[in-house]
């Protein structure tokens, strides 16, 4: 390595370490007994698994972390499956077919990306209250289904597929739907994978709407439950337990990221040119 490269490498190392301090500190103290909190050393001097035992078996003010993780899992599975079933055909229609109002609808969908979520929550809450869906998993799941990002990524992908492919199938007498299902969906597998992973992360981490639509502890998904627990950290006794809950509930997403980084990164790039 040349000198300039060594400098760049060292600078990156320092920044990366700084960037990791919040997560490292959170992880270390989730394995520390509460008595360590007041000492406040970066690395605790005693270790324990008690925090995790409490996280797994205790219910604090009605919140049980395993129950919240179960809620989040149900929400995630329903939303990911729902988003794929809705987005893949719709993105295909927007990319490769003509229909009345197509361009206007797509423009509206794009504009909605700029709408702040907070604008919708008030009236959405009103709607959900009328439907009797407050404090239910369905109430959390439904508004998350028509997300825009999947349509955007998949449409971009379908637009780049060459016409020749479907012309050949059409001459062989395949129907529009057969072309979609047998030719386009398999080709789009990497884009579908990207949408799947990005949707799973969104689903697990979404905070604003689940916060609004749940107020009973049993219905809360992970981020809302963690926020609810953290509102009680005045007692140092609970601090390490909350940190352990935060660590444990983030673990599935960290693993998903390490496994799916390639797809996540390709999906977030502005052109979404998934190769």
């Amino acid at each position: 390595m040349r000198n300039a490269e060594i400098g760049r490498w060292l600078l990156l190392l320092v920044l990366a370490v700084l960037w990791f301090v919040p997560l490292v500190s959170l992880t270390l103290y989730s394995f520390a007994p509460p008595s360590e909190v007041l000492k406040g050393n970066f690395i605790p001097s005693q270790w324990t698994l008690d925090n995790f035992i409490k996280v797994l078996f205790d219910t604090t003010r009605g919140v049980s972390i395993p129950a919240a993780m179960w809620n989040s899992t149900v929400i995630m599975v329903c939303q990911v499956v729902g988003i794929l079933l809705l987005d893949v055909p719709a993105a295909y229609a927007f990319a490769r077919t003509k229909f009345v109002g197509r361009n206007v609808l797509f423009a509206l969908i794009l504009v909605s990306m700029m709408m702040p979520g907070i604008l919708e929550v008030i009236s959405l809450y009103d709607l959900m209250a009328n439907l009797g869906l407050v404090n239910t998993l369905a109430g959390i799941i439904l508004p998350g289904l028509p997300r825009v990002i999947g349509i955007f990524i998949l449409r971009q992908f379908f637009m780049e597929v060459p016409r020749d492919l479907e012309e050949a199938a059409r001459i062989d007498g395949a129907s529009e739907f057969q072309i979609f299902l047998r030719i386009m969906v398999p080709i789009a597998a990497p884009a579908i994978m990207t949408v799947m992973i990005i949707s799973a992360i969104y689903s697990w981490n979404n905070f604003l709407w689940p916060l609004i639509v749940t107020n009973s502890p049993e219905a809360m998904p992970v981020p809302v439950a963690i926020a609810y627990l953290s509102a009680d950290t005045s007692a140092a006794l609970n601090y390490t337990v909350t940190l352990a809950a935060a660590f444990l509930t983030s673990l599935p997403m960290i693993l998903l990221f390490l496994f799916g980084q390639r797809w996540i990164v390709s999906g977030m790039r502005p052109t979404s040119g998934i190769k």
Partner: protein, 287 residues
């Protein structure tokens, strides 16, 4: 013309998505506009009041305070995110041993939810016992009760928000850097350009379209910031972190003044739209 005959296929394909979009995205937006024209309580509309909700906001001291808090936040947050994400993207762009690990390290917070991030930073900035104060004490500097002091609290919240969102910005900037041909840097090197010259005369001008996205999205994030504030300070101390979304939340879900709350949402949306428009115009004119 046989080809022009009606086919139900596109409607069947797009229909389900469009239907859900209409119910859960478009309808709530229109409904929010509608609600903002009413005195709307917990049991529904009490009276049509026209623009009364908006007019009363214009003379409400708390609303203006929340506006200035949000604007201050944006003024801190947007340049900070833009500068640091460009720095990181430039550092992460070219190959180095272990570059993949470095990229992963900076991208990882993308998957950490706001509640966990807020707790991690609360812990870090805990007065006296948190890592930040420990480091300051070690350096012989006084610690702070960061989140209990008006000026610092907003800055700490800006750090958390940046920590969560920076990875995404770096990803799109890296994609932009890849589109800059290496020959330009090669030619500049032959002309004796310094790294600073490269940044100012090649990298930044050619990154302009992506920089625009970074600035616009960061502004949108800044005006929508909510979870971090709710969890870390609940708008305090003394309302110094009560951003507009926080005021909306209080009006809507603590005081049940839903019409007024909807009006705040509309105002936030208009501000975001106006700022995005201005930013697009500004960047385009300068090309």
């Amino acid at each position: 013309m046989a080809r022009a005959r009606f086919s139900p296929f596109p409607y069947l394909m797009a229909g389900p998505y469009v239907a859900l979009f209409a119910v859960f995205v478009a309808y709530p937006v229109i409904r929010a506009l509608y609600m903002s024209l009413f005195d709307w309580g917990i049991f529904g509309p009490n009276a049509f009041v026209g623009f009364e909700n908006y007019l009363s906001l214009a003379t409400d001291r708390r609303f203006w305070q929340s506006f200035w808090v949000t604007a201050t936040f944006a003024v801190i947050y947007v340049p900070m995110v833009t500068a640091i994400s460009v720095l990181l993207a430039v550092l992460l762009h070219r190959k180095l041993p272990g570059i993949g690990v470095f990229r992963t390290a900076f991208f990882l917070p993308i998957v950490i939810n706001v509640a966990v991030a807020a707790i991690a930073f609360n812990w870090l900035f805990e007065p006296n016992i948190g890592t930040v104060d420990k480091v300051l004490h070690f350096l012989g500097l006084p610690g702070q009760s960061w989140l209990q002091q008006p000026g610092w609290a907003l800055l700490v919240i800006a750090f958390v928000t940046m920590w969560i969102n920076l990875g995404f910005m770096v990803i799109i900037l890296l994609a932009g850097l890849e589109n800059i041909p290496d020959e330009l840097y090669e030619a500049a090197r032959l002309d004796g350009a310094t790294p600073i010259d490269n940044l100012v005369y090649i990298t930044l001008p050619l990154l302009r379209p992506i920089l625009l996205i970074v600035v616009v999205l960061s502004t949108v994030h800044a005006f929508q910031i909510f979870g971090e504030v709710l969890i870390m300070t609940e708008g305090g101390p003394f309302g110094s972190t009560t951003v507009m979304t926080m005021l909306l939340y209080e009006e809507g879900f603590e005081r049940f003044a839903l019409g007024r709350s909807a009006a705040i949402g509309v105002v936030i949306t208009v501000i975001i739209a106006a700022l995005s428009f201005v930013q697009f115009r500004f960047f385009r004119r300068e090309v």
